[in-house]
Symmetry: C2
Subunit: 337 residues, 2 copies
DNA sequence: GCTTGTGATGTAATCGATAACATGCATGGA
DNA sequence: TCCATGCATGTTATCGATTACATCACAAGC
């Protein structure tokens, strides 16, 4: 494989000149430039990344930690992030953590090894190996949380107003006459879940039905949605509406209803969360709270890049993006009993 | 940030000893080892990746190029790849190409810059910057194709028997009495599409209905499935069955049918391809050809790792994995006309 | 007592680029 | 004519690890 020295020798110049041709072409005589370029092409030379990175102390890489890349919500966020990174000359290191702390730690270490310049994480756990770094540099740390934010983390973050979004969804159900509403929420430990539950309770309190809420916790997957919905439907007093904290869980809930011969939305209304692209292709099409998934990824990268531009202090430590309640066919008036 | 020199100084040893403590602990006196480890912990030292990589000429990174990460088929393959890579101590660089040649070229260049040790690509174009490399090293090149294989590429590959899989699907439809079968195929230029079409034609020829096949080409997305299906359904003689080359297109086709008040499978049968996790949660559940998505990713990484172990010649240049026809509710007997 | 072998550790070259600083040459103004 | 200036290019230290080789101490064998 060609090195800068080989190029320099063949072109009869010094390595510095070759380096300049690539980084600051205007500082090199056109004649020399042409000659060097010709050699570069002939040898198929490409600057060694490790050497460059060692010298400049920058990698132009970003680790993105997601709990599960096969979940289209995360995949969409990732896609937005990839777009924004690509434009800025950065590339992404994929960290599919499967929600396992040891994997999270492993990917977080890439920051310490200077294997990447920054880290974006979707999820609520900040690996402990980074707490030292965060303690020292605070909001200046090259770390951005997306979606599942809690102020205790002490890092920048990009998310929607989860409380408000949940309130919106519950208000829709209330306006349709539903009083017995079940929640298929996320993991109890997640700040995001807590935020949404607060929003739900707020709406329910105002309507005076807070004591009739039934709260269950799942892990956002289709299967957990099916299981939770099955439990709820088989209980003595089944809910007339289910608000699921992910579209995947809503898809599982729909399946559970179908299994029992229940017709959605006549017998039961279902609301999802995220608006992944399969939501509107469910039968009936799923009512859901849309999150701007691509934008979340794009803005997370933008925020991180601001932090990376040395001394770059962002205007704000967090960014709240707009959500949108999309009403489709899976919600309807509460059935009379 | 701590360097190996700082650790060495604090521990009162040489840098070589520190390096040995990390790489070959058994070659260091237990006493010294303990002392060095203590300093490492105290300083939070982690070996600089660029320096290590420059010295060893290995990065333990693999670029994975996919046309669209938000497509769950690719996401699942990626997940399998991530798993296998992680176990072997490798990490993945995400290359979402959006099917754009210039992006493919950009990610392929990472190989030349030694930014990654190997490349896995899903798609059928091998970027031209790599043709030189492939010409020189042939099947030894650290490059593996997944899914969309053509022998002209001259690189290793992992895929299912696409011709056979397509034959299986068409035979199912034929056995149910369908004679007017439409195809929602992939891009014409893709070898994978050609393979599957060959399989389709084979089955149709045997049954004597080859001349009644209607072939359309899409890009695997839901929207293109909808558009193609709409065109077919609005034609004078609509098909009684549609075989889609991706589940996404099948989901779009289902939506197009619903729009027109057609009941699947009574009025029309639909077969997908891939068996992404949304397939069985369609209404009706989708009959489809299952590809072992995770396994494809796992085996692609395994094959690549074999190539990377220097001089490692794999037993075979390609690996054919099993597919499976999953019959669900979206297929039924052909309607009498 | 001397040689040889072995194990623990140190010294220093090396990987391949970048960039600060040095050099040398041409130009222009006094 | 001389010197200051600026431009093109070269020289070399540096980034932070790994590792071949050198060194040293000590034990075993003759």
């Amino acid at each position: 494989m060609a090195t800068i020295k080989m190029v320099a020798d063949h072109a009869g110049v010094s390595t510095a000149t070759v380096s300049r041709v690539l980084s600051y072409p205007e500082r090199v005589q056109p004649e020399t430039r042409r000659k060097v370029r010709a050699v570069i092409d002939a040898l198929g030379y490409a600057p060694n990344f490790a050497a460059k990175s060692l010298r400049t102390l920058r990698t132009r890489k970003i680790v993105v930690m997601v709990p599960d890349i096969s979940n289209p919500f995360y995949a969409e966020v990732l896609r937005g992030a990839e777009d924004a990174a690509q434009v800025a000359g950065y590339s992404l290191l994929l960290g599919d953590t499967r929600d396992m702390p040891e994997r999270e730690a492993q990917y977080a270490d890439m920051l310490l090894r200077k294997e990447a310049d920054g880290l974006i994480f979707l999820g609520h756990r900040l690996p402990s190996s980074l707490t030292k770094l965060v303690a020292e540099t605070g909001f200046q740390s090259p770390i951005v949380n997306a979606c599942d934010f809690s102020s205790e983390l002490g890092v920048c973050s990009v998310h929607i107003d989860n409380a408000r979004a949940a309130t919106d969804a519950v208000q829709l159900l209330l306006s349709m006459g539903h009083r017995r509403i079940a929640l298929l929420a996320g993991p109890e430990t997640s700040p995001l879940t807590r935020e949404r539950l607060a929003g739900v309770r707020h709406a329910a309190l105002v309507a005076g039905v807070a004591d009739r809420l039934v709260i269950t916790h799942g892990d956002y997957t289709i299967l957990s949605g099916m299981a939770l919905a099955s439990g709820l439907l088989d209980a003595e007093t089944a809910p007339t509406a289910m608000f699921c904290f992910s579209d995947e869980m809503a898809i599982g809930a729909l399946a559970a209803c179908r299994e029992r011969g229940l017709v959605c939305p006549d017998d039961i209304s279902i609301v999802g969360f995220d608006d992944v692209r399969y939501a509107r292709f469910q039968n009936p099409p799923l009512t859901t709270v849309r999150q701007p998934m691509n934008l979340i990824g794009v803005e997370a990268v933008r925020l991180l890049l601001t932090l990376l531009r040395d001394g770059g202090k962002p205007e704000r430590h967090w960014l709240t993006l707009p959500h949108d309640l999309i009403v489709r066919g899976s919600t309807g008036p509460a059935p009379r009993r």
